[in-house]
């Protein structure tokens, strides 16, 4: 029983990490149909910048804010320097540009920071909280809380605010959006900076658990992408549910079957879901008008 509880808590922790990364994909995807493969690098930048700002003597909260702001700027730069000049290119080309950007950011981080693993202290100490015979770290609660907070924020942004609706409109039909007075260039810049900021926030929250180095982005982006696909790309609810589901699947497989098959089982389930529901669990059904 307490073993099951531990597996659940572990699944929630890992799942919330995936969900946070997956949530970062949604805004850019909603604004442009582009899956931003540099999302993992935003997470890495958030973690690494906080580590170095904190090591330079800044208090942790300030270091975190600086990291998020700087990463948002990197997001804007990515849009201005790489995506905008290629405007009008097919979505596939834009996706390939983001892959290039991710390689570039990783290389730059290797030079600007270093190649070592880093960590900064947990926000609320390392004393585990005992719960029905299982143990969870306070930092895990921060990650879970962060995932839910970002989810509610995004949900409110897309459904309650005019700006959020403008983002959706831009994705839907850029020309029509311009015709009704939406500044689509600004919407793109906004969505890249928001995505980058969410990625950096994820990095700040998960670093005490997962540790950070210049090359952690790829692995995180891969799992986050899988989670987003499972839940339905572009839907914040899908990202949250997909992430936590993926984490729980891995933990349960590791606990009850074998840790050898952990990733395999998770990906088989994703394939099965996508086979039956190609848009993911909560994905919008697309109908192409001919």
């Amino acid at each position: 029983m307490d073993a099951l509880m531990q597996f659940l808590l572990s699944g929630m922790t890992v799942g919330a990490v995936y969900a946070l990364v997956a949530l970062g994909f949604t805004i850019i995807y909603n604004a442009s149909d582009v899956v931003n493969f540099a999302q993992g690098e935003f997470v890495m930048l958030g973690g690494m910048t906080t580590v170095f700002a904190h090591a330079a003597g800044l208090p942790l909260p300030l270091a975190a804010v600086i990291a998020i702001a700087l990463t948002a700027l990197v997001g804007v730069a990515l849009n201005k320097l790489a995506i905008e000049p290629a405007r009008g290119a097919p979505v596939v080309s834009l996706i390939i540009i983001t892959i290039g950007a991710s390689i570039f950011i990783r290389g730059a981080a290797q030079l600007v920071f270093d190649k070592q693993l880093h960590r900064f202290p947990s926000f609320s100490g390392d004393e585990p909280i005992r719960l029905l015979g299982a143990a969870i770290l306070p930092q895990s609660l921060w990650v879970v809380g962060g995932a839910f907070a970002v989810f509610f924020g995004l949900w409110a942004f897309f459904t309650k605010t005019l700006t959020g609706k403008a983002v959706l409109a831009t994705a839907n039909n850029r020309l029509a959006a311009q015709l009704v007075g939406i500044n689509t260039g600004w919407v793109m810049t906004l969505s890249f900076s928001l995505s980058a900021a969410i990625g950096a926030l994820a990095g700040v929250l998960v670093t005490p658990i997962t540790l950070v180095a210049y090359d952690v982005g790829v692995g995180l982006a891969l799992k986050g992408f899988a989670a987003a696909m499972l839940g339905g790309m572009g839907n914040p609810k899908g990202a949250l549910v997909g992430g936590i589901l993926l984490g729980l699947l891995e933990a349960m497989t590791a606990g009850y079957l074998s840790s050898q098959y952990k990733d395999a089982v998770a990906f088989i389930v994703i394939l099965a879901v996508l086979f039956a529901m190609p848009q993911g669990l909560f994905g919008a059904k697309h109908t192409e008008r001919v």
Binding site: A3, H118, L211, V216, G255, S259, Q260
Partner: protein, 382 residues
């Protein structure tokens, strides 16, 4: 003439050649290909720095028997294909008489094929036992094998009467290889592996695996072969779950960075096999390795403002072996190879090397020290 020289220089720089083009009259041409950047940069970076530093030292001191060393150093970025290209270039264009390098087993294997074909002595800096088993004429290596790490750990476990153990291994190359080697020799040491779990190199939480191991009936200790963030997370998770079993880590995490990442509290009592270099400060004065490790450590840390690592130590030892062979044999490749094989009792940072015709590693278990983490620092467990 001038434009030609400029072009040649630019090409050399573009190719990433860092050569100390000292116009010495007689020189010994030494080649090196390490992974100074890329995924294995944590290995290759200190190795490249060590080799550059040592070449400088030797040349400042007047060279080997009056002959300066000319170094041709390439960065293969951890890519075996590049390593093969650079090895070929070292032999054919740079006409080196010996090669040091191969930070990873993959790049080493590429260089081996060139070194064997061209009959150039080569000292590898990678771990796998396949490099020197079977023995190849021109190939030597300085790091101990993961099989020896397993043997060292199992010997210590047996001495503490811990015979039933659980293993949690990384699925990366290092973890998987060591896991297999440990399984191979467990029975010889009277150790029974009764739980065997794995984790991915990027995993964030290993509590399910650790819960499973700790719930296995009769388990007395946990062994975690792996490197990178995995072992630090395993150590933290074990403390989080309050599992009260002795934890053994591998030589893959034998660095101060590990204690920092895992936290002093969580890593208290963790044991692992490491080299003398790691405990240079607490090594007793009479220790045969004391002088070698302290002089390398102070030279490296003085020059680069960066902590020494075991990996830089491998390069240091390879360079010592190579130059002492060159001192005896001059600059003939075949003579250097023979002198290398005759090396006996050469004290390095990793251990004391004695090569022979059927042993091109030349280290025994005494090269490993069983270390224990106490109060956030290293202590000798023996």
């Amino acid at each position: 003439m001038k434009p030609v020289i400029t072009t040649a220089m630019t090409t050399l720089v573009a190719l990433g050649v860092i050569s100390l083009a000292a116009p010495a009259s007689a020189e010994i041409r030494l080649g090196a290909s390490v992974s100074a950047t890329g995924p294995a940069a944590f290995l290759g970076d200190p190795e490249a720095k060590t080799i550059e530093m040592l070449v400088e030292q030797v040349n400042e001191a007047g060279g080997i028997n009056g002959e300066k060393i000319e170094l041709f150093l390439y960065d293969d970025g951890g890519d075996p294909n590049k390593a093969r290209t650079f090895a070929t270039r070292l032999v054919e264009d740079d006409e080196v008489v010996a090669i040091i390098g191969g930070s990873t087993t993959g790049t080493t294997m590429s260089i081996i094929s060139v070194a064997e074909d061209e009959e150039i002595p080569f000292i590898s800096l990678a771990g796998a036992i396949q490099i020197i088993d079977p023995v190849r004429d021109y190939v030597f290596k300085t790091p101990h094998t993961d099989r020896m790490a397993c043997a060292k750990i199992f010997t210590d476990m047996a001495a503490r009467e811990l015979t039933k153990i659980g293993m949690i291994s990384g699925t990366d190359g290092f973890g998987a290889s060591m896991q297999a080697q440990c399984h191979d020799i467990a029975a010889e040491h009277g150790i029974e592996v009764i739980a065997d779990e794995t984790y991915g190199p990027q995993d964030a939480d290993m509590t399910p695996q650790l819960t499973k191991i700790s719930k296995t009936e009769g388990v007395q200790a946990i062994l975690n072969p792996g490197f990178g963030q995995g072992p630090a997370i395993v150590t933290r998770n074990k403390a989080q779950l309050g599992i009260n079993l002795p934890l053994y880590q591998s030589h893959g995490v034998a660095s101060d960075g590990f204690i920092k990442l895992a936290g002093a509290e969580a890593s208290e009592g963790v044991r692992l096999p490491g080299t003398a270099l790691l405990i240079a400060d607490i090594l007793p004065d009479g220790d045969p390795q004391k002088d070698v490790v302290t002089s390398y450590k102070s030279a490296f840390e003085g020059k680069y403002e960066q902590k020494v690592s075991t990996f830089g130590g491998y390069a240091n030892d390879a360079f010592l072996l190579m130059t002492s062979a060159m001192a005896k044999a001059g600059s003939d490749a075949e003579a250097i190879r023979n002198a290398l094989e005759d090396t006996s009792g050469l004290v390095g940072t990793t251990g004391t090397y004695s090569f022979s015709a059927n042993d091109h590693l030349g280290l025994d278990l005494s090269a490993f020290r069983m270390l224990e983490i106490r109060d956030g620092g290293w202590a000798l467990a023996e």
